[in-house]
C-alpha cells in the first residue's frame, strides 16, 4: 500500500520540479508590444474569499482599458502584474500577505506604481513600506480605500505615521467615509423623514469610521441616535439584539460595516423582528453594495445603500468613456462588473498611466508627477468616471465627492439619486 503512494508522491514531486524549471513566471499577467522601456504597473487586491469576484471584475476592467490604450503610456510600454493580498486561510485580506506584497512590489525592479489596495487596513501596512522604497518611494493609487486617516487627520497620529520619510506617495480616486456617512444621514433626515435611528457597526476600521460620520451628521440634522453598537459577525442570529432595539422604537437602522461580516443574517433578522424596510428604514454604506447574495435576498428589498462614488448604471447613463468601457466589458464578459468599484479601478489606472506618461520612467519621476506641481488632472472626456478628476498634490485626495444613493428593488441595486456633499 505504501509503495504506490511513495511512487506517486515521487512522480508528483518530479513533475512539479520539471514544471517549475520550465516556467518561473510569477502571478503576473500582461501584454507587451511596441518599443521603448517596459514598465510594470500592478494591482494589489484580495483574490480569494468574499471579495474575489469584485477583484476579478476590477482586474478585467483594467485589462480592457489597457487594451484600449495598447498598453502604452507616453513612450513606455506597460505590463500589468496582479498581486493577491488575501490568503485561503483568512478568506479575506491578510496582514502577512500585505507585508509580503509591499516587499515584492519594491523588489520588482521595473514596477513603478501600484493600483490598490481594496481594504484600507492593508493599505496602512503597505503605504509606509512603499514610501521608503529606494530611489524616492513608489506610487500607490487606491480605487476603494475610503478610510479618511490615510490622507487626512482622523485618528491620533494619522496620516503622518504612514509617511515616515515625510513624503506622500499615496493617492485615491474615491472619496472618504466621512462624506459617505454624512450623505446617508442627510438623506435619511431630509428625504426619508427619519426621527430616531439606531446604528450597528461591524467593529472594523471601515464600519466604525462610516458609523461615526453618520452619527455626527445625523445629530446635526436633528435625528435622535438611540445607540451605536457593534454586531458580532460570529453570532448565529441577531434576534435578541433587534428585540432589545425594538423596545427603543427606532424608525431607522443604519448598518455600518461590510456584508462579509454575516450581513445577510443581520438583514434577515432585522426584518424578522422590526418588520420590512418600508416600516423601519434600513440604510447601509457601500460595504453592502456589489454582493449578488444580498441583492437577491427577499429581506433586503427596499434597503437604501450609499456608495462613495457614482454607480455603474449612472456612468452608463452619463455616456462618455465610462459607458464605452462598460459596453465593451459586457460584450467581452457577458455581464456588467459585479462591483461599482471596477470603474474606479480603471480611474486609478488612468491616474497612474498619466503620471507614467509625463515621467522619466523612474519611480521617483512617476511620484513627482502626482505629488509635485499641479498634480494629475484627468479631463472629463478622458475620465471613465465621466467628470474631471483632480488629485490634490498635497494630500492625494480626489476632488470628486460624489455619493450615490441606491435602493434595492427587484433584486437589483437601482440608482435613486446623487447626493453631492461638500
Amino acid at each position: 500500500m505504501a509503495k504506490p503512494i511513495k511512487l506517486a508522491a515521487a512522480l508528483t514531486g518530479v513533475a512539479l520540479l520539471a514544471a517549475a524549471c520550465a516556467s518561473t513566471s510569477s502571478t503576473g499577467t500582461g501584454s507587451t508590444g511596441g518599443t521603448g522601456k517596459t514598465l510594470v504597473i500592478s494591482t494589489d487586491l484580495p483574490l480569494q474569499g468574499a471579495s474575489k469576484s469584485a477583484s476579478e471584475s476590477t482586474i478585467n476592467a483594467i485589462k480592457l482599458y489597457l487594451d484600449s490604450i495598447h498598453y502604452k503610456a507616453g513612450p513606455y510600454t506597460l505590463v500589468l502584474k496582479n498581486y493577491d493580498d488575501s490568503t485561503a486561510a483568512a478568506g479575506k485580506w491578510d496582514a502577512g500577505a500585505c507585508a509580503a506584497n509591499a516587499q515584492a512590489h519594491v523588489a520588482n525592479a521595473n514596477e513603478v506604481a501600484v493600483m490598490g489596495t481594496y481594504n484600507s487596513g492593508c493599505a496602512k501596512i503597505e503605504v509606509p513600506v512603499l514610501e521608503q522604497a529606494p530611489g524616492g518611494g513608489m506610487l500607490m493609487v487606491s480605487h476603494a480605500n475610503t478610510n479618511p486617516g490615510l490622507t487626512k487627520s482622523w485618528d491620533p497620529g494619522e496620516p503622518d505615521k504612514y509617511y515616515p520619510k515625510g513624503t506622500r506617495n499615496y493617492a485615491r480616486v474615491i472619496t472618504t467615509d466621512d462624506y459617505q456617512g454624512s450623505a446617508a444621514a442627510q438623506f435619511a433626515a431630509k428625504d426619508l423623514g427619519v426621527k430616531k435611528c439606531y446604528i450597528l457597526n461591524d467593529n472594523e476600521t471601515y464600519g466604525q469610521g462610516v458609523g461615526k460620520a453618520f452619527q455626527d451628521e445625523a445629530t446635526k440634522q436633528g435625528i435622535t441616535i438611540l445607540g451605536n453598537q457593534a454586531w458580532d459577525a460570529k453570532q448565529p442570529n441577531y434576534k435578541a439584539l433587534f428585540t432589545s432595539i425594538k423596545a427603543l422604537g427606532p424608525d431607522c437602522i443604519y448598518i455600518a460595516g461590510i456584508f462579509d461580516n454575516n450581513g445577510g443574517q443581520l438583514v434577515k433578522d432585522k426584518v424578522a423582528v422590526l418588520g420590512d424596510n418600508t416600516a423601519v428604514k434600513l440604510i447601509g454604506p457601500d460595504g453592502f453594495t456589489g454582493y449578488p447574495d444580498l441583492d437577491k435576498l427577499a429581506e433586503g428589498q427596499g434597503m437604501y445603500l450609499s456608495f462613495a462614488g457614482l454607480s455603474t448604471s449612472q456612468l452608463v447613463a452619463g455616456g462618455g468613456a465610462g459607458a464605452k468601457l462598460l459596453t465593451a466589458y459586457k460584450a467581452k464578459y457577458g455581464s456588467d462588473p459585479t462591483t461599482d468599484y471596477a470603474l474606479y479601478g480603471v480611474a486609478a489606472v488612468q491616474v497612474i498611466v498619466k503620471a507614467i506618461a509625463g515621467s522619466d520612467g523612474t519611480r521617483a519621476g512617476v511620484l513627482k508627477q502626482v505629488f509635485g506641481g499641479a498634480g494629475i488632472t484627468i479631463s472629463a472626456t478622458d475620465s471613465v468616471l465621466g467628470k474631471e478628476l483632480i488629485i490634490d498634490p498635497k494630500t492625494g485626495d480626489v476632488n470628486a465627492k460624489d455619493i450615490s444613493i441606491l435602493q434595492l428593488m427587484n433584486n437589483q441595486e437601482g440608482f435613486l439619486k446623487a447626493w453631492p456633499v461638500s
Binding site: 518561473t24 480569494q48 485561503a88 491578510d94 496582514a95 500585505c98 507585508a99 497620529g157 505615521k161 515616515p164
Partner: protein, 407 residues
C-alpha cells in the same frame, strides 16, 4: 523497551566527538549563516533569471514569516509535545506578544512620550522601547499570562482541557478586537487600549546597537529572527533533558504514575504553559515587526490549528521534526501553494485556484500521516518506540478472547 532510551541524556559527552549541544548549535548556525549569505551577497550577484526564480518561490519575506511560525510551533511543542497537554488556543500567546510590541514600540499611547533606547521617527509620540527590551517584556508578560490561563485549566484532562484552551484562544483575540473602548459599554469613549479592529500600525523598526533596520533589510531581520529561534531551540533542548523536561515526559506518558512518583503535577504543568507561552510571545513580537504592525484579524482559530498541524506533522516532542513541519507548512500557506498553482496553471494551461485547496491539502496530509506515519516526519525516539511497539499480538488477542469466553 521505551524506558531504555532515557538512561543517558542525549547531551552526554562522547569521547573525541562534539557534544550534542555543540552539534546542533553548529548545524543551525551554519544553516542560518548560509541563508543569510545567499540572500545578502550571492543572489544579488547572480543573473536576473535566478533572482526572479528565487524571489517567486522563496522570497526573503516568506523565509522571515516561516521563522516566526517556527518559533511559535516550537513553543506549542513544549505544551503539546513535551507535556502532552492539548492546547487549541495557542494563538492567544502569539497575539499577546504581538500586542506587547504594539503597545511598547508605536504611537498607540499618543499622550505619552517615552523613549527607552527606542527607534521612533523624530517627534513621534507614544511609547518607544528598544526592540530587545520589548522581547524581554513580551516574554515576561506571556509567561505570566500562561500561568494565569493555565492555572484554572489544569484540573481538567484531555477533551475538556482542549475545550477550555480553545475558549481562551477565542477570548483573547476578541478582547484585542473590542479593547478600544475600555470602561464604557457604548461604541465610543472609554480608554483605547488596543485600537480595536483597526489594529496598531506602524511599529518602530528593529535596532541592532545603534543601527536601525529599514523596511528592506529583510536579511538582517532574518538574522534577528534566527537568533530568537536559536534561543528557543536552546531552551527546548536543555529543558527537555533536564529535571523539568523529564517530569513533562512522565506526565505525558502517565499522569497518575508521575504523580505517584512525586512529580508535582500542578507546578510542572504550569511551567510547560509558561515556557511554551514565552516562545509564543517572542514569535508575536517578531511577527509584529515582520508585518509592521499588529491587527486582531491575524489571530484567529485557524492559526492554532495550523500550529498544531505543524507539530503533529513534524513529530510531536521532537524539536527538529517540529521545525521541519513548521517550515514546510508555513511555506505552503504563505507562498508555496500559490506558486505551485501558478506554475501548474501556466504549464498545463489550466486555471485551478490552488490556494483555495489549502486546508483540503492540510487535512489530506494529516490523514495520510496518521495512516502511514503517526509519529510524524522526524519522530521523537520515545514516541517512535511506543507507537511501533505492538501492544498485543494477534495470538495474544485470540488467547485473551478465549480467556474472556471461558470466564
Amino acid at each position: 523497551m521505551a524506558t531504555a532510551e532515557l538512561v543517558g541524556p542525549p547531551e552526554t559527552r562522547e569521547h573525541g566527538r562534539l557534544t550534542h549541544n555543540a552539534r546542533w548549535a553548529i548545524g543551525f548556525g551554519t544553516a542560518a549563516v548560509l541563508i543569510f549569505v545567499t540572500y545578502h551577497w550571492v543572489l544579488p550577484s547572480l543573473n536576473a533569471n535566478i533572482n526572479t526564480f528565487v524571489n517567486s518561490w522563496l522570497p526573503l519575506s516568506v523565509v522571515d514569516e516561516c521563522m516566526v511560525w517556527m518559533i511559535c510551533a516550537l513553543g506549542l511543542n513544549i505544551v503539546v509535545g513535551f507535556a502532552g497537554l492539548l492546547d487549541l488556543g495557542y494563538v492567544a500567546f502569539w497575539a499577546i506578544g504581538g500586542y506587547t510590541a504594539g503597545w511598547l514600540i508605536s504611537g498607540q499611547f499618543y499622550n505619552l512620550k517615552i523613549d527607552i533606547f527606542g527607534s521612533p521617527a523624530a517627534g513621534t509620540p507614544g511609547i518607544h522601547i528598544n526592540f530587545w527590551l520589548v522581547l524581554v517584556a513580551a516574554a515576561i508578560l506571556t509567561a505570566l499570562m500562561g500561568i494565569l490561563i493555565g492555572a484554572p485549566t489544569l484540573r481538567l484532562k484531555s477533551d475538556y482541557l482542549a475545550l477550555v484552551t480553545l475558549g481562551f484562544g477565542e477570548i483573547i483575540p476578541q478582547f484585542f478586537k473590542n479593547g478600544d473602548h475600555l470602561g464604557t459599554l457604548s461604541g465610543s469613549g472609554g480608554f483605547d487600549f488596543t485600537h480595536g479592529e483597526r489594529g496598531i500600525t506602524p511599529v518602530d523598526p528593529i535596532t541592532i546597537g545603534p543601527w536601525k533596520l529599514g523596511p528592506f533589510d529583510l536579511d538582517w531581520q532574518f538574522a534577528v529572527f534566527a537568533a530568537i529561534a536559536a534561543f528557543v531551540i536552546f531552551v527546548c533542548l536543555r529543558l527537555r533533558v533536564g529535571r523539568l523536561g523529564r517530569a513533562w515526559l512522565a506526565i505525558r506518558e502517565d499522569e497518575l504514575a508521575a504523580s505517584m512518583m512525586g512529580v508535582p503535577l500542578m507546578r510542572t504543568k504550569l511551567a510547560a504553559y509558561a515556557v511554551g507561552a514565552v516562545a509564543g510571545g517572542l514569535g508575536g513580537v517578531a511577527f509584529a515587526e515582520h508585518v509592521g504592525g499588529v491587527l486582531p484579524d491575524s489571530f484567529d482559530f485557524s492559526i492554532s490549528i495550523t500550529l498544531l498541524a505543524m507539530v503533529v506533522l513534524g513529530g510531536m516532542g521532537n524539536v527538529w521534526g517540529v521545525m521541519i513541519g513548521a517550515l514546510v507548512l508555513s511555506w505552503i500557506n504563505a507562498n508555496g501553494l500559490k506558486q505551485v498553482g501558478s506554475t501548474f496553471n501556466s504549464t498545463f494551461g489550466t486555471s485551478w485556484d490552488f490556494p483555495s485547496y489549502n486546508y483540503l491539502m492540510f487535512g489530506l496530509i494529516l490523514v495520510l500521516m496518521m495512516l502511514f506515519r503517526r509519529e510524524g516526519l522526524l519522530p521523537e525516539s520515545r514516541t517512535k518506540l511506543l507507537l511501533r511497539e505492538p501492544s498485543r499480538t494477534d495470538v495474544e488477542s485470540v488467547g485473551a478472547d478465549l480467556e474472556g469466553e471461558s470466564a
